[in-house]
Amino acid sequence: MTFVYRGDFLMLQLATVLVPVISLLVWRAAVAAGADLPVDQSYLDSYFLAVSVVSMATASWTAPFLSTSIRNGELSRSLLRPASPHLDGYANNLGEKVVKLALLVPIIVVVVLVLPETPRVVGDPRHWALAVVAVVVAAVIAHCFEIACASLAFWFSDVNGFLVALELIKGVLSGAVVPLVLMPPALATALSWQPFRFFVSFPIEVATGQVAGGVAFGFAQQLGWLLVVGGLSVLLWRTGLRRYAASGA
């Protein structure tokens, strides 16, 4: 269904690269203005190049649709079929990622070739392989997180305001807007433990070979969050479904 609305699809494609590009331009301007950063220009180029791929590959936009379907009763359609009610969300997210990656990767390759210095993410193949695993786990956590947030609609009906606020917080704490290494050092420990780090920043840290606390410990933390968020989403969904009122029919 991704191809049904061509204009909408193109805008979505553009939006995927827009945020990292704007962030990169802002940080470049800061460096040009003489900002004293703990990382160099090349790191920023590499980082935001990776953000454009990783944030797209791990992002899930299920919560607004799922919560709306709970509120207006559209969820009934999925509940009446002999398949997971989340099948639609899985299929849409996977389909979207395949299509977007197919279009985004050639753009990234061109950018890498055009940039004066070879970005740091183009490096050790072992890092790349581990980064792919981190991206897949991050995508699963992100999707479970979206289902958990959407499930709140069983109790609060309209959660869209909450979701918008969460999106802003997620943008900052995941490292999609600001690399976490540029955050105040006093917050370093807290930032390294919070779940949103494992949505975007952690896979990039793995790709660049710069994981705070080591790769193995980082993966242990990510798997820990997978269990917590996954368990929470199952609990909230199952408990919430008992309250479903199937409104509107």
Partner: protein, 338 residues
Amino acid sequence: MSTKGVPTGGSDGGGVIVAQQLIKDYRRSRQRPGLLGALRGLVSRDVEEHRALDRLDLRVEPGEFVGLLGRNGAGKTTTIKLCCGLLRPSAGEVRVLGHQPWRREFAFLRRIAVVLGNKAMLWWDVSPMDSYLVHRAMYDLDHDDFARRVAGLAELLDVTTVLDVPVRQLSLGQRMKCELLAALLHRPEVLFLDEPTIGLDVVSTAAVREFLAEVNRRDRTTIVLTSHDMDDVEQLCDRVLLVDDGRLGYDGTVADLVARTSPDKELRLTFRHPPQLPAVWPRGTRMVGREGTSVELRAERDAVPALLGAAAGWGELVDLDVGDADLDQVMRDVLAGR
């Protein structure tokens, strides 16, 4: 209600749908009107429990075509939602095909189908055929059987030419027919229909009714229908269940419901010349209208033979029409508590 207390029908064992002492409570909030009310709502909210079903007992046997009737908010749609697993009972029990519907086991969902008149089951942005292909995968249907089934049902419903048109571009009638086609692809044993003819024109309504009657007769599909269109109910249903205030108020045939609620017969007598009507009407008879050479009477069933005998003496009788009150009138009487 005049029909309360009528024993509910059905025998033990073998029921496709069996509900016992079924209760469903909803929580709903009351909102104060206006800006001030909205601001007060931020601080305190009035939430109340609303009992939609109150110890409802019902039973549907295999192959029956049953109509669920009742006023708005009586509990008809809630009953359907409980039977197909969308809602979980607050108390009591409902079993459909031996399953507890709220568990929504795939083995159960494969055996039922639901058509909600005001909720699309087909995907809006793609053609019906694309939705059917997803349906085929979901229900694991044999490819050849699927193709034959789609072609056969599409021909019966006269939608062959629109199967590749996006659903959003179909007329209401075409969409409803395509919804019915989707619902029947996997040969469900029980079909729940909630207002399937709502908003349809006369031609589409007739086509849908004919199709449903055929499905019930040919495949022995058990069908439970809610409709505000009494013609739907009268033409299709073997039995009606009247739900009132969340309880079963009547369980029986349409004819029995009419007979119980409006026991009088309606007669229209047409004479060749203006008739000489009696000053005193026979016992149990009253005139409800007179126009030219025709007289409309309402008479108790037992009084009809004597009335017809007497009518021969009022003039030369050229036409006679005897019937029951129609279901629309009956429902108006029932719902008004008469």
